[in-house]
Symmetry: C2
Subunit: 341 residues, 2 copies
């Protein structure tokens, strides 16, 4: 914004016409004579005129921008979501503002505020892990700014949601482990306030039940990042001799335990089978490759953006919140393929 980009007024002055004529000419308004229109367009082109998006948004009360709040873009799942969102958004003439919460509640609050301040037309949100109070999202809801929750949702707020079938995913994985002959399965889960964590844990428990395996509460511990694996290494190493499988709530945690166990002489999957969740690229790179379930981040992002655009296009319609559930697919790999004895 340094030296004043040329505005419609500048053009008007330079050409001896009114600003409205310029405005109309540039958008092919039928009232404007072809002669003037051409002259104006040519001139605008020459001076490289570009409409000021800020002024436009202010005037139209529509910014054509949607805000994205996501925990951390480093993770493949989240960046896939973003790509899905962007591709739909761009194709429909929307811009996106991406904010990272870094899994931090107060950063998330700031992000919501900043996006609202910038008058985004809508919000696409994947809630931070540490968020337990949802009042900032209620503000959005009360503003009537359309919002779609993605993956990590807030049930208290009635909005469209796009989620993974976490329950079935976890059930699928756990059943697979059981099929491989595992009976003592350690679950590395995530914080209780995260629904996805709850659902994955429930899926794990359900699979045990279906196979008449008693649930041992000691075999569920909260440990959802490589760092946490490191912090809990003693506990994990103490439990390890007594289990024959580990199901981690995400792939990078699974990889971290795998490394920990390998260092301590465990054979994977011979001694302990390991499974993750999400099918991150590292899952196929580790040795042995990691069994996991595929989550369709890209498609989820697309779907969420489509839902949002729907709301934006029909603000008066008050249809019930939609919930799109994405199924997952089991990716069996070497890390769980025990030779049946």
């Amino acid at each position: 914004m340094k030296p004043h980009l040329t505005s419609i007024n500048d053009i008007a002055k330079a050409m001896g016409v009114s600003a409205s004529t310029v405005s109309r000419a540039l958008k092919d308004h039928p009232d404007i004579s072809e002669a003037t229109r051409n002259k104006i367009k040519a001139f605008a082109q020459k001076v490289n005129y570009r409409p000021n998006a800020l002024a436009l948004s202010l005037k139209k009360q529509v910014s054509n921008t949607i805000g994205i709040i996501i925990p951390e873009i480093v993770h493949h799942f989240f960046s896939s979501i973003i790509s899905g969102i962007e591709d739909i958004a761009y194709s429909k003439g929307y811009r996106v503002m991406i904010c990272q919460s870094n899994e931090d509640y107060s950063r998330e609050e700031m992000n919501v505020q900043a996006l609202l301040d910038h008058r985004v037309d809508g919000l696409l949100v994947c809630i931070s892990k540490t968020t337990e109070d949802f009042s900032h999202f209620k503000t959005v809801y009360n503003n009537q700014t359309p919002m779609v929750f993605l993956d990590r949702v807030c049930k208290e707020i009635e909005t469209d949601r796009v989620i993974t079938d976490d329950f079935n995913g976890a059930r699928l994985i756990t059943s697979h482990l059981i099929e491989m002959g595992c009976k003592k399965i350690l679950h590395l889960g995530t914080l209780p306030q995260l629904l996805i964590g709850q659902d994955r844990q429930d899926g794990y428990i359900q699979a045990l039940k279906e196979n008449n395996i008693d649930l041992d509460p000691e075999l569920i511990i909260i440990c959802d990042t490589p760092r946490k694996v490191d912090e809990n290494r003693d506990e994990i190493l103490e439990i390890a001799p007594h289990v024959d499988a580990i199901f981690a709530v995400n792939d990078f945690t699974a990889v971290a335990v795998m490394n920990l166990l390998k260092i301590h002489g465990y054979e994977i999957p011979g001694d302990i089978a390991i499974a993750g969740f999400g099918d991150d690229p590292i899952a196929s790179i580790v040795e042995p490759p990691l069994t996991t379930v595929e989550q369709q981040g890209y498609q989820m992002g697309q779907e969420a953006m489509n839902l949002l655009i729907d709301r934006l296009a029909n603000p008066e319609v008050t249809k019930k919140p939609e919930v799109k559930i994405f199924q997952v697919e089991l990716r069996k790999r070497k890390s769980t393929l025990k030779l049946q004895s």
Copy 2:
């Protein structure tokens, strides 16, 4: 932007004062009596008043927003850069708008335009691989919108730059391979228009020279993504028997060749040593762990943002473009540690 968020005018009307009074009261202007100020502030708080950032930017001709254009956020190096930028930006009261070019020239052009349209105060750019024409950046330059190039720079435009010492990094790696006894080193490089690729290739050549190894032009091929590895698999497999090491221009390409070679029965590093560039997290996860050099993405992002803020703060000062070069550190890992015979 649905039901009209409450504005300063609304508050003014509701309280029977003028808009200017409200404006002043809210920003603690000394002219306003404490009584009115408190009343107004209390009311604003109650109705959850938030200034419209769009109107503010329009008025002030400063958006406090900076634009980031980056090839692909999925890559750890790039998302580290973003985190570095964000942390500095937030602490100084700036917002960021992140755009992905997806390594696509025309997307990059669109991004530049969109950010300019939104009147960002400055731009932080990591150029797309496929960009050979830089006129869109020259437009920015002519606009006098401050811009800092990061990692992938454009020499034709005189701006601040923050780069990696690619030449020395590649030289370091290549020398290390030579020390390990390798003499026939295949280099998987990137497109010729990319300076970083050129520099890494030059570093590779320099190391050969320093060790009196003749450069074999057949041992340089352009192959800079896992997909390209797949496309060039035949050529790579044909060359493989005749080399004792491979130096890839980035880690994910290195990992891809490593997998290809492992599948075809090669021992790493026994038959062929492999090294990458960047120290992506996958480098320490693959088996064997990958030798590479560490690039300080986070710090580079911080530095770039600081340079930009400097320019923004002193628009009149016309000091010469600064170039910050970040050194790299060799990370020797198993993938190159040949037993010396």
